[in-house]
């Protein structure tokens, strides 16, 4: 059978630091009709770049340097702009990561669906609209006959993403390139989009390149998987085979991410560090953004607060630290009642409660050196300066597993994401806190780097008996590191308890939904889930 897409020896270069440098090295792949090939890797692996190259497209500042890209026998490399233009959208289409940015805010959604097929001369506007509505229906969008006539900003993230999937189908292309279509979505919304993807690829027999960093997700939709790293091929195999028998170490590491850690042996009941009763808070003064918040954190233990976007979990952190004063309830820290407002609190209380943020890039002042970042809390809280400070900073760098000589004088902008996050941890450690609030600290990091951070945090906890309040949307992380789990939905706590309790049924309805939505490494997981869903409607 002929290959629909054949890429041979592809090299792509990017222009930075005054010269063209290769970012994709010697990639070859082929794709048959009706087949789904998963491209998986961490950031910088080159997967998006390869996906775009499949249609002969390179982003600003990039160019396809050499290689052959044959789409249904036609060579795209070196083809004229006009030839490329005719192929794009009609034979091969693209679903971007951010639907919100990819839709033109000035035009209705359905008009943008119809644009490509009408422009390529495949059908007239009326027919395109009819087909659009039909697709919206098949992709489980609410009010399919009406939703297309809205403007992009009137649809939710998940709806817009599915509308973009429909738009990619409008010319009935042979291949669709899905570029991280679910990465920006909540885990429960992700299911809907994955189901939509499966509908298209299986029921409509389209070929697809599915790009993602999440191996569990790609295992649900792809027939074969290609593992990429730094623009090079690591391993390629049939999905089930790859998962059962990974050949490369890197692949194994990706598969083992977030495996359940050994539970720490629980000693006596430890002291209560943080005790929150009946707390409520508001931004507008009209509606409460969080309500009836009750939770306790004990010494040496990790309490994970889980929820999707809009659940209020980050707000809880803001209330605890005093950035958003509570309008109701009490916050007791180390037995002492804390003033609601940050500026009313004692310096020493501030010291004992530290926070680590989600985006390492914006959590560190780009104009400061590592020495300055870690040194400031030492100076501010303990008055330590000079040689004593230098020594202590070095100790801390060792604690976070970074070589002091190499890092102490560096500017924070020179570091990688993982290194920056470690510096943030050191900054928190320098204050010798009792409690660290971790606000989505691994969400912006690559999977393997995130693993390293979680391991580090666990080690530090074992050494110092610090308590963690771990805020996250990622259930896999929660399953791995939490002692106690608190589940939030729309500003309220729906369920909380010891990890084992929460993870075994019976559950609160939402907990059930949440747990069920986390993709597992089993390729049949999605099919099973969808079947179960369908059967509950009968």
């Amino acid at each position: 059978m002929n290959n629909l897409l054949e890429i041979k020896n592809l090299y792509i270069e990017a222009f930075y630091e005054e010269q063209w440098q290769p970012i994709v090295h010697n990639i070859s792949l082929d794709l048959k009709r009706g087949e789904v090939l998963g491209l998986i890797g961490e950031s910088g692996a080159g997967k998006s770049t390869i996906g775009l190259a499949a249609m002969g497209y390179a982003r600003q500042g990039c160019r396809i340097a050499s290689g052959s890209i044959k789409l249904d026998g036609k060579e795209l490399f070196g083809a004229s702009q006009e030839d490329l233009r005719m192929v794009r959208g009609s034979k091969i289409s693209y679903v971007a990561q951010s639907a919100a940015a990819s839709f033109n805010p000035a035009h209705r959604v359905i008009k943008q669906y119809a644009e490509a097929p009408v422009h390529h001369g495949l059908m007239n506007h009326a027919k395109a609209e009819k087909e659009a509505i039909e697709l919206y229906r098949r992709l489980f969008l609410p009010s399919p006959e009406k939703i297309g006539y809205r403007y992009p900003h009137e649809l939710s993230g998940g709806q817009l993403q599915r509308a973009m999937v429909a738009m990619a189908m409008s010319c009935k292309p042979d291949i669709i390139v899905f570029d991280e279509p679910t990465t920006a979505l909540d885990v429960t919304t992700q299911i809907e989009v994955l189901a939509a993807v499966k509908e298209i690829t299986e029921k409509m027999n389209k070929a697809a390149l599915y790009i993602t960093h999440d191996l569990a997700v790609v295992a649900q939709v792809a027939h074969r998987i290609m593992v990429l790293r730094n623009g090079r091929l690591v391993e390629m195999n049939e999905t089930r085979e790859l998962i059962k028998n990974p050949k490369e170490k890197y692949t194994r590491e990706l598969l083992n991410v977030r495996s359940l850690r050994e539970n720490k042996t629980i000693h006596e009941k430890m002291d209560v560090i943080l005790d929150i009763k009946d707390v409520a808070a508001t931004y507008t003064g009209v509606d409460n953004v969080v309500e009836d918040i009750n939770l306790t954190v004990r010494k040496g233990r990790t309490v994970a607060v889980v929820g999707e976007s809009g659940s209020g979990k980050s707000t809880v952190a803001k209330v605890i630290t005093g950035l958003l004063p509570a309008i109701h309830g009490s916050i007791k820290f180390l037995g002492k009642e804390l003033p609601r407002k940050l500026k009313d609190r004692q310096k020493d209380d501030l010291r004992k409660m530290q926070m680590i943020y989600q985006m390492p890039d914006t959590a560190l002042n780009p104009r400061q050196t590592v020495r300055q970042v870690i040194g400031r809390p030492l100076e501010f809280y303990f008055g330590i300066r000079g040689k004593k400070a230098e020594d202590r900073i070095r100790e801390l760098l060792v604690d976070i597993e970074l070589d002091p000589d190499h890092y102490i004088g560096r500017l924070t902008t020179e570091l990688s994401g993982g290194e920056k996050q470690r510096i943030c941890i050191a900054r928190a450690l320098a204050a010798e806190p009792e409690l660290i609030i971790c606000d989505e600290v691994t969400s912006a990091l690559d999977q393997l780097v995130a693993e390293g951070i979680l391991d580090l945090l666990q080690d530090l906890q074992n050494k110092t008996d610090m308590a963690y309040l771990f805020i996250t949307h990622d259930l896999a992380t929660v399953k791995a590191i939490a002692d106690k789990i608190v589940i939030m939905l729309q500003g309220k706590i729906v369920e909380q308890g010891e990890k084992k309790e929460i993870l075994t049924p019976p559950h609160h309805e939402y907990t059930d939904k949440l747990l069920a939505s986390v993709p597992e490494m089993d390729p049949d997981w999605l099919d099973n889930l969808l079947e179960k869903r369908a059967s509950t409607f009968i």
Binding site: T321, L323, L342, R345, K347, L350, Q354, M355, Y357, Q358, M359, T362, A363, L364, N365, P366, R367, R376, P377, F380, R427
Partner: protein, 272 residues
Amino acid sequence: MLKLLRQSPLSARIGMGIVMLNILVAVFAPLIAPHGETSVVGDVWESSSAKFYIGTDHLGRDLFTRMIYGGRNTIALAFITTAISFLLGSFLGFVSAVKGAWTDQLLSRAVDIIMAFPTLIFALMILSVLGSSIPTLIFTIAILDSTRVYRLSRAVAMDIEVMEFVEAARLRGEGLWWLIRHEILPNALPPLVAEFGLRFCFVFLFIASLSFLGLGLQPPLADWGGMVRENSGAITFGIFIPLIPAGAIAFLTVGVNLIVDWFLHLSSGLHE
């Protein structure tokens, strides 16, 4: 810093050359000028000669001397005014961004109202009431111009303020002054430096225009705008003297703009 200079494009270097030349002339004016600033030494509108390098003005004063002193006066006045405007505007802008709440509201509304006024008209009216003394000029223009600096520095500071490292410092318990000095200011420098250049150009042109209208520096002080005005009659006789000070104004402004353009290009590139 040196690396930065080495990598600068030709246009920026030309700009720097122009600015340096003007600064040198302004600073060393008394040493370079062959005659006194206001001394009448020749006939009216003489053409250039060995005695008067570019000829004389409408009263018979040496134009070359007048140009040198004019540069000194105009540039110094513009620089001092810009500096005051800048310090005032950026300080208030930062405070607004960091304190927020009603401080921000109050200041922003006040600035909005002042900015609703066309600057030239406002300046003219104030000068008509208070007269054109040097302190009046400086403070009027500085206050009017500081509104634009306020807007920019407030916007820049707000962009920085939402970053988590500022929140981290807040949570530590750091005070207002520390936040501004150590967290916000170092990160606000690139756009602010560019803005200083732009403000200088505006103030410089503005003062020259006011002087041209007869409301800036008063004679017999030499100043480029005023010199254009004084010698404007010469044009009808085919003597193009007014173009010289006017050209000098344009020359310096172009120089500063070239440097500012380069700076803007740099700081936007850093964000990509």
